[in-house]
Subunit: 319 residues, 2 copies
Amino acid sequence: MSTSVTVLAGGVGGARLAHGFALALPDGGAPAGGGGLTCVVNVGDDTERHGLHVSPDLDTVMYTLAQLNDEDRGWGLTGESYAVLDQLGRLGEDTWFTLGDKDLATHVVRTARLRAGVPLSAVTASLAASLGVRARLLPVTDDAVRTAVSTPSGTLEFQEYFVRHQHADEVLDVSFTGVDAARPAPGVLDAVTGADLLVVAPSNPFLSVEPVLAVPGVRAAVAASTARRVAVSPIVGGRAIKGPAAQILESLGHDVSALGVARLYVGLVDVLVIDAADAALADPIAALGFDVVVTDTIMGGAAGRARLADELLGLAGQR
Amino acid sequence: MSTSVTVLAGGVGGARLAHGFALALPDGGAPAGGGGLTCVVNVGDDTERHGLHVSPDLDTVMYTLAQLNDEDRGWGLTGESYAVLDQLGRLGEDTWFTLGDKDLATHVVRTARLRAGVPLSAVTASLAASLGVRARLLPVTDDAVRTAVSTPSGTLEFQEYFVRHQHADEVLDVSFTGVDAARPAPGVLDAVTGADLLVVAPSNPFLSVEPVLAVPGVRAAVAASTARRVAVSPIVGGRAIKGPAAQILESLGHDVSALGVARLYVGLVDVLVIDAADAALADPIAALGFDVVVTDTIMGGAAGRARLADELLGLAGQR
């Protein structure tokens, strides 16, 4: 039986680490005999564009696991064209949210199936299977949870903040509309409590991890989990690998460092994995009660991802 | 004041003749001082593909008037690509109904606006305006009317019959689901009763013209119209210019000829326009009570369309 790994993931950071596990586990992380990889993914970034339901984080993880993602850009599919988007612009639609043609097919199918009453988790499973993904991909919830970002100029829908404003606004607060009434999608709680290794991906703590944990039952499942619980810091050398995590830590009054991240995760995980660049923070982080692993956490290519995943797999079963 | 022309149209034949009028009338047929071109278009061919609302006849007329249509193929847009359709196939969708990328943008926008509660007629007006269409384009109804075709192997949804089965099945009967409850779209009855010239396009009498006339109130409006009422035969030399009109005339027991078409239109129109190839049928058609115009009705290019439209404009106001 292979190790069972559950990754709580947002977009790019979660996708890369999930890809590492898919490479490191047998059969691409396919579930078998209780083992395999399950990704529990944030849906707070979900949005409706041109009447289509877009799930950016689910798609980033799905495309990355399918090895179809555009690595340079960090989102979307390789070899994309933009014929539909160009024409949508001609037809008077706002086109600041870039959608490639192949990517759009995902949203068309997802929207049609959702409207036919199929839950997001089942739609996601069929899309992922069509693209050859072996691991299990779960939205944290089938219900609508939407991240809203309070800024000095007002509250923005997540993609307005992230894409249209290019995350330039100061973040005063982050909230998750609908989260109180949301239920974990089928399989989520079992995957969290029953894993050998539970990994909080190096995703944005406020925008990616928190909307996963905030779904009622998920945080408690992490607390009750028998897994070895590990978080990988998304802050390396005082900067985010990608996205606005550093600015948000700062504007919300946290240290912009792996230590600042560690403080957010006290009581949530047992192990904090930090980059070699932050080795000097190992002692203060350990003082917070974590086991600390110092390693190379920058997952440029497939080899780096698989190596990091392998190292994390070594932590499983040590609890 | 220019002549006001209303064309009852299906797909390709209606689109070509409408294009002729747009060329022959001032300002592309834009409404002005009571004149201009109004196309009242069949929606019985409408279908839902991949959760998107597709209106093939409206789009054929719209794209043709915008001079963006693929002339060789008879439907869709020029310079199309098929990236979305290819990907839809990869995601497990049936792809027998070909949708180009640019065309798909039309359906995405239409679907989003319909779901937001905008009626089809208003959606159509905004789409047409975005593409530079000056004439008025009206779906015959904002309500759902769907053509169903009875065949020896069962009843088929229109696009199943037309596209998937390539109109190879024998047609035993044609019906229009929802037509009894349908109301003419805003502007339709006025356009029919108030025109100077009312033209039944050389479209399929059973599949394109009948579902327009069958919307309650439309046939009566044609009867009450003060317009000179003209039909152009879609059958030339015993054959349809395009599509299954000839087979259907035959399987339903009609003469496969302009005379057979004329018999269908007794009491509906005053003038029957037939092709020079059918000059020998002028007398028997006149004997049915029609004024008969014999001319070149094959509208290959823009010049031929404009010439036929010009000739029909000469009939206006003769009633």
